[in-house]
Structures are given as structure tokens and as C-alpha cells.
Amino acid sequence: MRLPTDFYKIWAFAARSFLVNRRNVFAIFEMLFWPGVAIFSVGLLTRFLQLDPETVTFILIGAVSMNTIQIAQLDLSYALLYSVWAKSLKHEFMAPVGLTHILLGAGLVGLIRGFAVFVLMGFLCMWLFDMDLGPPGTWGLIIFLAGMFMNAGIIGALVLALVLRFGQRAEVAAWAFSYLMLLLCGLYYPVSILPPGVRELAQIIPLTYFLEYFRHFYGFPAPSPHPLLYGFSQSVVYLCLCYALVQYTLRAAKQRGTLLRLSE
């Protein structure tokens, strides 16, 4: 990395994501509408079922995580999808930029948007459904957010690899991956109720541990002895693997001519 040259390269992707988000009414929609729908529908359901406050928090934190991760990973996935849609991919890779620039630049905007969604949904939950974000404390929240953003990074990087391999067809993966992961990691329920086999799959998803960690502040004991250790170490391993995978698919794309096909 050579500062400030590298800073400008990272900023290029961040500024582009920011401009596209600002001009795209659906990007605002993504941030407000779907998270809003999720909170209201899940929150009203908990009210109808007359659940106790701890269980309400247990479920609502699932809804908050799902939307935060979804929004944060989208910016990363869009980093290349914008170029694919614009058919400008070859111009981006013609420039002396590396994956690190793309991931950090687009990831920065994802982080900001994800954080905004988290704050917005947190307030909605506290205001409308009496969810209490106090027990975890500031550090608990920061650690939970860091875990969610790492998971968003893993999904985003996986989608980038798929975009480089399959082009626009991978668009659907941007959504599907996160839903699949969220289904397995015990979003609205403890992973202990998952059927055998699937339960083991949940153990290899780092978000499972971050949810366990956060929920233990509300009296739900974490089944794993060291959820943060498992969560962070798995996240780091997956992030490294995903980075290597994207590097590999980029090299393969240059071999197969995918970069050119996606620019036509």
C-alpha cells in the first residue's frame, strides 16, 4: 500500500458507491422500507403472541441483525455489480487497482449504511416495542456490530467471487447468501431447535456465535463456551479464504475472458 495513492483508489470506490446510493431512490428504499417492514411485522407478531420482554428482544435482535448484514453486504456485492451493469468492468480492471481497494472502498460505504440501519432499527425497537439495548453496554454493542460487519464482508466477498465467475446471474446470490446464512444461524430461534445435521452447519457460521454472545446479556445462556473466540476466529479465517477465492476468480476471469464478456 502506498499512501495517499492507495487512499485515493479506495476512496474512488467509496465515493462511487456513495454517489450511486445518493442518486438511487431505491437505495434509500432499501435502507428504510425493508428494515421498517421487518421490525413492524416481527414486532407486532411478538406483541400478538404476548411474549415476555426478553424473548421479544431475542427475536427483534434477529430482525435487526438480518437487515444490518443485508444492507452492509449489498454495498460490497454492488462494487462489481455496478460495473457489470454499466458494462465498464474492463475499465476498472484496466486501472492499477487491487481487490483490497475495491473491498475497502465499497466496504466502507456498506459499513456506514449498515450502521445507519442498525441505529434506525434499534431506535424503532426501543421506541415501539420496548426493546432494551442497555444490558450489552457500549462495548457489547460495538463487538456485536463488528461481528455483523465481518459476516457482511464474508457474504459480500463471496458474491464478488460469484459475479466474477457468473456475471449478472450472480445478482440473486447477493440476497440469497445472506438469507441462507441467517436461516442457519438461529436468527429468530436458538440453534438448538434446528434438526440434527443442520445444527452442525450452524456451528460453522460465525454469526451464530455473535448472536449467542449478544443474547447472553438478556439471560439466554450461550451454548458455546467462548462465543467471541469462535465467532472472530471463524470470521477471520472465512474472510481470508474469501479474499483468496476472489483473487482466484479474478485470475480465472482473465484466463477465461470473463472480464471482457461482462463488459460487452
Binding site: 483508489k9 476512496w11 465515493a15 465498464s88 480492471f93 492499477p96 477465461r256 472480464l259
Partner: protein
């Protein structure tokens, strides 16, 4: 002096479908381009022009062979090479919702420009390509010609030493195409920029390129200056003159621009370099003879004919 481009035995094939056979797109292509030259690669669609240029531009890896561009290996030193080259292609495509200025700034940053240096460079390019009035217009609202000008402006954002132009005037109206060609010539003259351009327009190659090479089915068939190739291959427009009273006794070879000729009973078929420009002079010379011209047929030289000439 080290050549700006040195390609040796470049081969490339692509898989057709998941289980399909491989299609050979380039077959042992060799090429050397001197620094400061405008070199043209001519060929029909599917000849392998874009594949070749993409290998040199580090967007594709060759299956075999070696490509050195500006003294750097196009595979091993791709990162360093990309800082010194750039590319503009036909059918300019950039992010639709960014303005002309924002698109240029985006690419400028990708090349490590920022702050005042970026602002100055973008301003210069907007002036150079007469894009100042459209600086705040989004890409999707630009005309085809303006999009192409933006593509050229983008290609100069890093002040490259070598520029790849992949059919830069395809799809443009004749006036805009002429304007772009003049810009390319001016850039080369004023900055000494080496340009490798692909085209299937012979006139364009003639106007811009000091030297050209013909690519067909992945093989480089012939290379040289346009006059050399015209002379060697007898390239030229086909002009047929039909006479009422038989072909007059004229030395057709001495008529302006005539490369070759073929006498028939009532007509003469001439191969003429830029026949459109020389038609008046030819007709004037012929009209001095006793036989009257009753019909004139002019057909511009096309690449298919040239390939036929080269391959047979």
C-alpha cells in the same frame, strides 16, 4: 530503442460452452510496434483483434507466448504496466448515473490521482474534448458521440505512454468519427503517445496509422505501411468505366491513383487509390479520348477483398 510493444507467438483459445471444444482465437501472433507510432490492426469481426489488444492491456492472459509492453511483461508486471497504459473501446460504457466529471474523477482516483492534481487533470480533459458544457450531465443522457469523447478523455486520465484504442469510431456518425480521428492524430503528434488501434475501417487505418497489420482468424497475415501494402496487394477502390464505342487506347496505368487495370470489351476495371478523390481527374483524362463514357461504377475496397488478396 526498445519497442513499445513486443509480442511473440501469442496464442489464445476459449472454451465454447461447459463441455464444448476450445476455439482458437489467436495463433502465434508476433508483433513489434515502435515507440511513438500509431499502429493499426485491421480485421473483420471475430478476427481476434479485441482479444489481442486485451492481452497487451493485461485484461486477458495468453495461453502461450510472451507480451512485453513498454519493457514490462504483460502478465508478470501487469500491475506496474497498468499505471502506464490505458484503453478506450467502441461503445463507451460507464456508470450511467455518474456525471461526466464524476466518471472522470472516479477513474482518476483509480490511477492514484487526488486533490488538486485530479481537479486539474479532469479540467484539462474536459477542455480538450470539449466536454465542459456536459460536465454535470449524467452518462446515460449523453449522445453516442459525447460518450465516445468521454471514453477517450478517460483513456488519457493517467497520461498514458501507450494507448489502446479498440475500434474507437465504430457506431459514430461520419462527422464525429472524423473529429475523433483528428483528436487521435493530434494527441500522437503533440505528445508522442504510442497508439495501438484496431479497426475494420480501411480508410481510418489509412488516415491514422503509419503501419498496419491484417489479422484474420487469429493469424497475422501481412504488415507494412499502407502504401507498401497497397502496392504489394494492389489494394484500392474498384472503378469500372463503361464505354459506348469500346475501350479507348489509353495508358490507364498512368491515370491518377491507378494501381492496376483490367481491359474488357466495353469497359475497363481500374484499381484506384482513393477513387472518390480522383474520379474527376480520371474522367477528365478519359473524356479526352474518342470513346464516350456511358456508365461509371465505383465500389470501395472492402476488407473481404483484401483478405482474399492476402490469402490467395
Amino acid at each position: 530503442m526498445e519497442p513499445a510493444i513486443f509480442a511473440e507467438a501469442i496464442s489464445k483459445s476459449f472454451k465454447t460452452g461447459f463441455f464444448g471444444p476450445r476455439k482458437q482465437v489467436l495463433q502465434e501472433v508476433n508483433l513489434e510496434v515502435a515507440p511513438g507510432a500509431i499502429f493499426g490492426i485491421l480485421g473483420p469481426n471475430g478476427a481476434g483483434k479485441t482479444t489481442f489488444i486485451s492481452i497487451l492491456a493485461t485484461l486477458l492472459r495468453p495461453d502461450a507466448g510472451q507480451a512485453r509492453v513498454l519493457g514490462l511483461d504483460a502478465v508478470k508486471d501487469a500491475g506496474r504496466l497498468r499505471e502506464r497504459v490505458n484503453l478506450a473501446a467502441s461503445g463507451a460504457h460507464f456508470l450511467w448515473c455518474l456525471t461526466v466529471e464524476e466518471n472522470l474523477k472516479f477513474y482518476g482516483r483509480l490511477y492514484g490521482l487526488g486533490g488538486q492534481a485530479l481537479a486539474t487533470k479532469v479540467g484539462e480533459l474536459l477542455d480538450l474534448f470539449d466536454l465542459q458544457p456536459q460536465r454535470r450531465v449524467t452518462f446515460e443522457r449523453l449522445s453516442t458521440g459525447l460518450k465516445q469523447r468521454l471514453a477517450l478523455a478517460k483513456a488519457l486520465i493517467n497520461t498514458p505512454e501507450l494507448l489502446f484504442l479498440d475500434e474507437p469510431t465504430t457506431g459514430l456518425d461520419p462527422e464525429m468519427a472524423r473529429h475523433i480521428r483528428e483528436e487521435i492524430l493530434r494527441l500522437n503528434r503533440e505528445t508522442g503517445l504510442t497508439i495501438l488501434l484496431t479497426t475494420h475501417n480501411l480508410r481510418e487505418a489509412e488516415m491514422l496509422c503509419g503501419e498496419v497489420a491484417f489479422l484474420k482468424e487469429g493469424r497475422l497475415l501481412a504488415r507494412g505501411t499502407m502504401p507498401q501494402l497497397q502496392e504489394r496487394l494492389g489494394l484500392g477502390d474498384r472503378l469500372s468505366l463503361f464505354f459506348r464505342d469500346g475501350v479507348p487506347d489509353l495508358d490507364f496505368a498512368r491515370l491518377p491513383g491507378v494501381l492496376t487495370y483490367n481491359l474488357q470489351e466495353q469497359r475497363v476495371d481500374l484499381r484506384v487509390d482513393r477513387a472518390e478523390e480522383r474520379l474527376a481527374a480520371i474522367l477528365e483524362a478519359v473524356s479526352r479520348s474518342a470513346s464516350r463514357v456511358v456508365q461509371v461504377r465505383l465500389r470501395e475496397v472492402d476488407l473481404a477483398e483484401i483478405y482474399h488478396e492476402i490469402t490467395h
